[in-house]
Symmetry: C2
Subunit: 127 residues, 2 copies
């Protein structure tokens, strides 16, 4: 696990039931936290898969070559930074990029990161 970091994005959204996951409101999302979330290869891979899916994807639909607890950690960092929204649907935890929020706060940023990831994969092979 990573230590708590100082990059912002306080997570204050009230959780009204144990199944409500805390998300930063749009105005609480911080650039530094978003960049930190995107700076890990596994988290960047999740973001690319969600962008390609263009909709909600279950956690079980994204396979990472790390342990389940590390996977859960990565999803949590993405959620708490404001990059993804996680919602329970029955027993599945569904994930989607917060493209509207990120696009409103930081126009072009997510697209530039996704394009850069594609360019790197094209240059170096598998991500």
């Amino acid at each position: 696990m990573e230590p708590p970091d100082r990059r912002g994005a306080a997570v204050t959204a009230s959780a009204t039931s144990p199944r409500d996951l805390a998300h930063p409101a749009r105005e609480e999302i911080r650039l530094e936290a978003v960049l930190h979330a995107l700076s890990d290869p596994m988290r960047l891979r999740v973001v690319r898969e969600l962008a390609a899916a263009d909709g909600e994807v279950a956690c079980s639909g994204i396979e990472l070559p790390v342990t389940k607890s590390t996977t859960t950690h990565h999803f949590r960092v993405l959620r708490e930074s404001g990059v993804i929204r996680q919602t329970y649907r029955g027993t599945a935890k569904m994930n989607a990029l917060r493209e509207d929020a990120l696009g409103a706060l930081f126009p072009g940023l997510l697209d530039a990161v996704l394009a850069a990831a594609d360019a790197q994969t094209a240059r170096l092979g598998a991500p």
Copy 2:
């Protein structure tokens, strides 16, 4: 100090004298390392000042509200990730953004991050 991280950008450029600082070659620069370098508020501040200066700036010309050793650490992370080039000129260590390398590898990324930082500052006040 931060722990060594796994985000790439091996620094293999040979140092031919003690005053030559190691930089990754362009093809060694990794997106994850660049995003990590940009994810710290102090390092983002340095990058914004260098972008605004549009040329070389001495370390002494960039004041950060942290200790000298922390400042040195931040400049090193920026250099080793490929975001900046550091060059000794006499007794001064000069810094410049590697805009050509970053623009060639990741078109639009640096501009998107700088615009996002400007937008956040406009929204929240001081960076």
